[in-house]
Symmetry: C2
Subunit: 341 residues, 2 copies
């Protein structure tokens, strides 16, 4: 490995001068600059950022801690983060938590040891502990996608409550009253908020007791399948289903198909999260779409501003609107006949 000393010797200058040329910091005459550059090129010198970071206390690396990169929503988030970060000269390290508290803590430890300049966290659970922990180590953190009460940190997310409200409103306006909610894990704020939105819309329609219609599960297809099966095999099956995320919706679609029910003819279906257009041949699901890429970029910018110390004193909370995209799966208005009871 060649160091600035080697370059310095070859160029006939002091190491610090090499450092200044490389980093474009401080003055350097055209002549010495030239000499240093040639020497560096000749030796194939590359800076050791470990040493640099140790000295400057900056790594120019941020971390993205999310639940599962396999979900296209988070893939888009990852892409948004990387684009914004790399434009600003930062690299991105990412880790999956699988909604698992222990895994999240393990990852956070590692990241702090690595001295990342900042962390974008999609919290696996709703307590402020993890945020506190990160901040105790003087690392800026931005909460992404989910809500954490009492956390003194910037956050960026979508308005899950309103998105859910709009979806359920749509179903109500189409004449549905028996609307099942296939929910996410209790405790994940996105799951909670979507349930709240559902409840608000239902209550406004005079449907106050929805316990029969609500289920909790996980944000994956298997869970969606299971919950849908349970819903449609109940004594009063739903005429419409609201799935709390994309995977749950897909699982529900499969369950309905397996039971010989068609969407939207037999059961209407709406869901949270759109799939990227590149992945879908014939968009079919009515959804509340979240601007994942934009969200990620905004969050990254917030984080970077904290890192560079030019953020405001108070906490920023950015809540982006979801977009209601009506497609075939929600179906047309239904007549009274469909509404058993």
């Amino acid at each position: 490995m060649t160091t600035i000393h080697d370059v310095a010797k070859l160029a006939g200058v002091a190491p610090i001068t090499v450092s200044r040329v490389i980093n474009n910091s401080g003055y350097a005459s055209k002549a010495t600059r030239k000499r240093v550059e040639t020497a560096a090129a000749e030796l194939g010198y590359v800076q050791n950022r470990l040493a640099r970071s140790l000295r400057t206390k900056r790594t120019n690396a941020i971390a993205l801690v999310l639940t599962d990169i396999t979900n296209p929503f988070f893939t888009t988030v990852a892409r948004g983060v990387e684009d914004a970060a790399s434009e600003a000269g930062y690299t991105v390290t990412y880790c999956n938590t699988d909604e698992n508290e222990v895994k999240q803590q393990k990852n956070l430890d590692l990241l702090i040891q690595q001295q990342v300049d900042g962390i974008l966290l999609v919290p696996a659970y709703s307590s402020a502990d993890a945020i506190q922990y990160i901040q105790n180590h003087n690392t800026p953190v931005v909460i992404l996608d989910r809500r954490i009460l009492d956390a003194k940190a910037d956050s960026v997310r979508c308005d899950s409550e309103k998105g859910a409200y709009e979806l359920v409103r749509l179903l109500l306006e189409l004449g549905h009253r028996h609307i099942a909610m296939l929910g996410g894990p209790k405790g994940a704020s996105t799951a909670d908020d979507r349930l709240s939105g559902y409840r608000r819309a239902m209550a406004e329609a005079g449907l106050h007791d929805v316990t029969h219609w609500v289920q909790f599960g996980s944000f994956n297809q298997a869970s969606g399948y299971k919950m849908a099966m349970k819903a449609i095999s109940s004594t009063t099956p739903p005429t419409a289903i609201f799935a709390a995320n994309n995977f749950i919706a897909i699982g529900a679609m499969k369950a309905l198909q397996n039971c010989g029910l068609s969407v939207p003819e037999d059961v209407a279906l709406v869901g949270f999260d759109d799939l990227p257009p590149a992945l879908v041949t014939f968009p079919f699901l009515t959804v509340a779409s979240q601007p994942a890429y934009e969200m990620a970029q905004k969050a990254t910018h917030l984080l970077l501003s904290r890192i560079e110390g030019n953020g405001p004193d108070d906490i920023r909370e950015i809540i982006l609107p979801t977009e209601l995209i009506v497609r075939r799966s929600s179906g047309p208005a239904i007549n009274g006949l469909n509404q058993a009871k």
Copy 2:
């Protein structure tokens, strides 16, 4: 920031003793070990891996350089890499190259500066330069997904040629003779190999001149759409289409739909790469599926073995088979009438 010095002072030992306890290296009596551990816990000490890495010349970080994390194939790869890496105590940094040579080089530079212990590279172009460059800096590298001639590095990929061959064979056996190939970018080995497989199958069927049927494009939906449009609007349109990857296939589906053609009734369609089951409601496309997760894990293990210095002397090349999954899009055998000419 608390350092081993602080811990040492509190525990009444020398810094080096703290180091030994933390890393479980060298001897330490039960008593001092205990004292050090309590002191560390009390101060909330976390190791500074920057300093450690500078000293040990190991970062326990590997990098995954791929073309686009947005493609579910690569998402699965990313997940495979991270699972394998984190199990072995390594973190993963990733970057997208967007099939762009300049971007790739920029990323590689950064990674080498960061002293990553190894690099998993999905090469954006087919020359061995990048590999050479990485190796010149004494960094182990494993070539992932694509083929590079003359590269002296381990590699893991799927058998694109054979996968393509099987898909086209299937179409031929169903009676198709007019089979269009919607290809990837010239130079990407996966694109080249899939074309070779197509050619081989066609030649075996006595179809030696296929220039009319072959197009080159990009691995994205827009390109698939464009190529499909061109193919079906030609004077002798195809009765079947082979798409060189998942995005191209989806683009082709859209084009066919827009032209009022149905799959497989009017045109049969097969493609490379399956979509993860979690993303698809009703699997429809006949595909050659690549074991992305397994591939990623194997590649990571190869890389780690190089890093830890217990790999064999000679280069390893792992070529995994693709799986032919026949679904509806390839259609039934066609009768002579469909085969114009």
